[in-house]
């Protein structure tokens, strides 16, 4: 019996889901400890945090749906054959967007267009050859006459809005018990944001069934589909990098500040050396070298998707190696201060072991710095991906990402008339993601940084307003 599909566990999928599980575990742990929950409660009381959380959740749902991969079974060649699986690795998101994945055109077409963006020779039924913009294979193919497009678009938009409104109402109803339980959370702004997101997504989906909502790119792929696929890459880079950065930065930084002496010298030497190499060059050198290794061992990777995925993971690893130094320096300074405090001295006096002092007394007291800097780094990493992909040392060219989209669309600016939609979509999706991440990071900083709470009133108010 064949299952019909073969689950594919890409390394980044596994790590991403582990990260989600770890986060869930952390919040469950926090819930039962008021002193750990307090800063998060402060964060959740901020309107900016709620608005950005709703936006990030939207991105998260798309990204996680794109992180469940499988390979379809091919129809058996003969009776009794072992099931063979297609080499194409698909995700759950691909299933939901199957109509977009298959609806490729020949080349560029504008958003909601019914005809191609470039002229072609069309053979008429009577044998004459005409130079004109040919009709699209998919976009508006359901229309009997192109004059109906306006009415059809309006009808679909309204249907999409109606569906969105229904979903909005249902979600609001489902969230009511939560709302009653946590009245201090500003649900209103979050609910409005959700409504705005649905009001965009609903019509977009309804229209995508008959048109290319954001046009098509050079090889005729739907730009909306590409943009949605890029989200996962951004999330992977923004989150998995921390898996390298966090242990390195936290352990080495705290150890340097706590042990002082030669340990401190050694760790300082390590991060000064790493820091002194320009980050782009270090990443470039590493990625170029790894590319050679990957090419030499093509047999390690059964599918192209798995190879691209390993390269993505390596990019996260090297980004982590270049970015742990900032965290380590911060933590070293903090650990130097903490080490002089009475309670740590007392622990020494009682003969508590170094390991125990580090894990029980030092780490919990620098946790706020770790959390703040992890959240702050997310947006920088997402933006860095675009630049690195432009330089040619980012993700695999086969991986869809905002960087590869921008890189491919860059030359289209020189076309006359200009092809603006792929660039605009990539930058638009990127901007909303990074803006939401930045706003959330601000709210987290305000919630966790003790200086903000006890600091001067003016700075506090200004910081709060900045977050709002």
């Amino acid at each position: 019996m064949s299952m019909g599909f073969l689950p594919v566990l890409l390394p980044t999928d596994v790590l991403l889901w582990l990260l989600v599980a770890a986060l869930a575990g952390y919040f469950a742990y926090c819930r039962r400890r008021p002193h750990l929950a307090a800063p998060w409660v402060r964060v959740l009381k901020s309107r900016a945090a709620i608005v950005s959380l709703v936006l990030l959740a939207g991105y998260g749902v798309v990204g996680l749906a794109d992180s469940l991969h499988f390979r379809r079974a091919l129809p058996p060649a003969g009776p009794g054959d072992a099931t063979a699986y297609s080499p194409e690795v698909l995700s759950v998101l691909d299933l939901a967007l199957a109509h977009l994945r298959h609806s490729t055109e020949k080349t560029y077409s504008a958003p909601l267009a019914t005809r191609l963006f470039v002229r072609e020779e069309i053979e008429m039924p009577d044998g004459r050859v005409l130079r004109d913009y040919p009709r699209l294979r998919f976009g508006g193919a359901q229309l009997a006459s192109e004059a109906d497009r306006g009415a059809d678009v309006a009808r679909r938009t309204l249907a999409g809005l109606a569906g969105a409104a229904l979903l909005w109402g249902l979600l609001g109803f489902a969230l009511r018990p939560l709302r009653r339980r946590f009245p201090e959370v500003p649900w209103g702004p979050g609910y409005v944001t959700l409504g705005a997101m649905l009001a965009l997504a609903g019509p977009a989906f309804a229209l995508s069934l008959g048109y290319h909502v954001l046009g098509t790119d050079k090889v005729g792929q739907d730009v909306l589909y590409l943009s949605l696929k890029s989200i996962r890459t951004s999330l992977v880079i923004g989150t998995l990098t921390t898996l390298v950065m966090l242990p390195l930065g936290a352990m080495l930084g705290v150890a340097a500040g706590y042990f002082k002496g030669w340990v401190d010298d050694l760790i300082q030497y390590l991060y000064t050396t790493l820091n002194s190499i320009p980050a782009v060059l270090l990443i470039a050198a590493f990625i170029l070298m790894m590319q050679v290794v990957i090419e030499r061992h093509a047999e390690w990777f059964p599918t192209a998707a798995q190879r691209a995925d390993v390269r993505l993971l390596l990019l996260c690893a090297i980004l982590g190696v270049t970015s742990w130094t900032g965290l380590a320096r911060l933590l070293r300074g903090e650990a130097l201060k903490l080490g002089e405090l009475e309670y740590v001295q007392a622990a020494h006096g009682f003969g508590v072991s170094h390991l125990r002092i580090l894990t029980r007394h030092m780490l919990p007291n620098v946790a706020h710095i770790i959390i703040i800097s992890l959240v702050l780094d997310f947006s920088g990493l997402v933006l860095a991906e675009a630049v690195l992909s432009y330089v040619g040392v980012g993700v695999d060219p086969a991986t869809t990402s905002f960087g590869t989209m921008i890189n491919a669309a860059r030359l289209e600016m020189a076309r006359e008339p200009i092809v603006w939609w792929s660039l605009a979509s990539a930058f638009g999706f990127l901007l909303v993601l990074v803006l939401a991440a930045n706003l959330f990071a601000d709210a987290v900083r305000d919630g966790f940084d003790p200086r903000v709470r006890i600091g001067l009133a003016a700075a506090r108010r200004a910081a709060k307003e900045a977050a709002a």
Partner: protein
């Protein structure tokens, strides 16, 4: 003071050795020169003879660390490590993979890079400080609030967007400046004005928000209260007292990047066709010219260490309380 500087310079040596080791491991141990030759020659099925020829031509045919075939000192010097890595210490960069002298290339390319990077740095600093000071002056008002919102939005926009958008709008649509290219002398201005403007604008968001925090922190200090208590106007307090003191962290914070201005800007130079070190680096990365990448890594780390030293020295210059021991 002098003793301190000498000690710091000596301290730079182990760091540079470390940098050298990292690049050596990345470039020669992870990948053998054979792999490099295969990649440079391009084709999948190159003959071993072609590889050997390429290696001999570029001097990669020696052993990595120890050459038992050579005599005397040659055992250590006639190796890839000595010839390709240690020679960088003497600023002897050798030739790029296409045979051109890297040092000469760097000497001609650093001027366009500096012509772009220095104005971006100076104008950017002035604009950011002005912007931040304005926000701090109107702190806790709507002007401050919307200023911060603007900053957060601006820092959320990808640099690529500023470059592509600016180039399209100013150069292509309005025809105010040439789209790309470069000329020496005064003609350079018309090629540089747009990249400089874009460089400044793309830095406003993060820069002025950071400086605003510094200003606000400074304004909470006791001497500011004293100044206000003796009846000074808010403008005088801000410009005469706060600005001066807040410039200490600002200046010492930016000193570290001054030497790195030599390296140029990767994105800006490659988008605007400016023949500086940034576009040189990016071309080398894309052509996988490892000799150039190695040289740029080394120069970058030397400049960074120089920046750290200058940072320490600048503390004593702007803040008389700091004494270097």
């Amino acid at each position: 003071m002098l003793a301190y500087v000498i000690r710091r310079v000596l301290y730079a040596i182990p760091i540079l050795i470390g940098v050298n080791l990292i690049t050596f491991v990345l470039f020669f141990v992870v990948n053998t020169p054979d792999d490099m030759a295969r990649m440079q020659l391009g084709a999948k099925r190159v003959t071993q003879a072609a590889i050997d020829h390429w290696k001999a031509e570029h001097g990669y045919d020696r052993p990595l660390l120890w050459n038992p075939a050579a005599s005397g000192l040659g055992k250590a010097t006639d190796t890839i490590f000595f010839r390709k890595s240690l020679r960088l210490f003497a600023f002897d960069f050798g030739a790029s993979e296409d045979g051109r002298d890297i040092a000469a290339e760097i000497r001609t390319r650093m001027w366009p890079s500096l012509a772009l990077a220095i104005p971006v740095f100076l104008v950017g600093l002035a604009v950011n400080v002005t912007f931040a000071l304005t926000m701090a002056f109107f702190r806790a008002t709507y002007l401050d609030f919307w200023g911060v919102v603007l900053c957060v939005t601006m820092m959320s926009i990808s640099t690529l967007f500023y470059i592509i958008g600016g180039q399209y709008l100013v150069a292509k649509l309005w025809h105010l400046v040439p789209i790309s290219g470069y000329e020496g002398g005064l003609d350079a201005i018309k090629f540089l004005i747009l990249p400089v403007a874009i460089g400044v604008v793309s830095g406003i968001g993060s820069g002025s928000r950071w400086y605003r925090t510094l200003f606000l922190e400074e304004m909470g200090k006791d001497y500011v209260r004293t100044a206000r208590a003796k009846g000074l106007s808010e403008a005088v307090v801000l410009f005469r007292h706060v600005l001066k003191n807040a410039m200490i962290p600002i200046l010492t914070g930016v000193v570290v990047v001054i030497p790195l201005l030599f390296m140029g800007s990767l994105l800006m130079e490659s988008f605007f066709g400016i023949p500086g070190l940034g576009s040189y680096t990016i071309d080398a990365i894309q052509a996988q010219d490892f000799a150039v990448v190695r040289a740029m890594v080394f120069i970058g780390s030397v400049l960074y260490i120089l920046g750290l030293l200058l940072t320490d020295l600048s503390y004593t210059l702007v803040d008389p309380r700091v004494r270097l021991e």
